[in-house]
Subunit: 190 residues, 2 copies
């Protein structure tokens, strides 16, 4: 087999195993040995390819926010867009693994917390705050973010029985009016 292709495959195998384990058990409880075992290679190879555990984690954990879509939304669409985006990430198996890897450790691993705060929540809030407007737009954006974060965590990470079993439409039907209340799009109207 070609060398380049072979390398790409094992690199991806390592990343997939890493995402799965980081996402399921968190940073601390995931060992390089276990990741290597799942990927079917030697632990030392992980080091050679990714440098150290921290870098492996950085490469594995990722939560992509589609800022463009969010920025394009009007005040009235905001709640629906935010809710839809949340589910979109967690229904795509590819995106989901990385997102879980990030969220799982966001409270216990400093780098994960910082990444979530600075690269996910802050930009989102900035975008949302702008379309919300008003002098408490920042705060409303932050609360909106916190609520979607809470639902995500409870449903996908904590696996609250009720929330995990609920279907997407029912959940959206309840969540969306709540997010709209946070945004309060009518507060500037006459």
């Amino acid at each position: 087999m070609a060398r380049a292709e072979r390398r790409r495959r094992t690199e991806e195998a390592i990343l997939a195993a890493a995402r799965r384990q980081f996402g399921e058990a968190g940073y601390e409880r995931t060992s390089i040995r276990a990741v290597a075992a799942e990927a079917g290679i030697d632990p030392a190879l992980v080091m050679q390819l990714f440098g150290n555990k921290e870098s492996l984690y950085s490469a594995a954990a990722a939560l992509g926010v589609e800022l463009d879509v969010l920025k394009a939304a009007t005040v009235d669409e905001l709640a629906a867009t935010a809710a839809a985006h949340l589910f979109a990430v967690f229904e795509d198996p590819g995106d989901r693994a990385g997102a879980e890897a990030l969220l799982r450790s966001c409270l216990t691993h400093p780098a994960a917390g910082a990444a979530l705060r600075d690269q996910v929540m802050a930009p989102t809030q900035a975008a949302v705050a702008e379309t919300i407007g008003g002098d408490d737009g920042d705060l409303r954006a932050a609360v909106l973010n916190a609520c979607t974060l809470g639902v995500t965590i409870a449903r996908y990470l904590l696996r609250d029985p009720v929330l995990a079993a609920a279907d997407r439409a029912a959940l959206e039907a309840i969540l969306q009016p709540a997010l709209d209340a946070v945004i309060d799009p009518g507060r500037a109207a006459p």
Copy 2:
């Protein structure tokens, strides 16, 4: 000094140090040696008094929910009561340390996650679902719980700059209508 009193004090010193460190760094990154050092005693004494690390954590991590207050609330009071309770816990320095110790590790430590789910969220949801009523009362209660959890985590654990800096009244003013939208107290009215 009296022996009993002395013991009580060191036990409390250990617990205080444990709560602080578990709450700040999480279960895995907190070592018995570090807790003992902060309490000014020998690591082995922690083992003698608490058995093992897991038991120490159980003794230190606690999030008390006042179910009676919650159950006594009417549908219209529910949102305000839930929000008020959230802040009450995190403003009492005594309660807060234990609550942080639980929440910090709820995503990465299985026992913490189970405790939060079974001993905090489930009873709360049951109580809230009953006063909400309707056939989707469970789901609404779960969403309400998830939102308050999200705000709590973002403000006190993740320390989102905007949320952490916001004052309680402003936050409540935004959060409460949102929770009310989740509850939707008017949906049965004519």
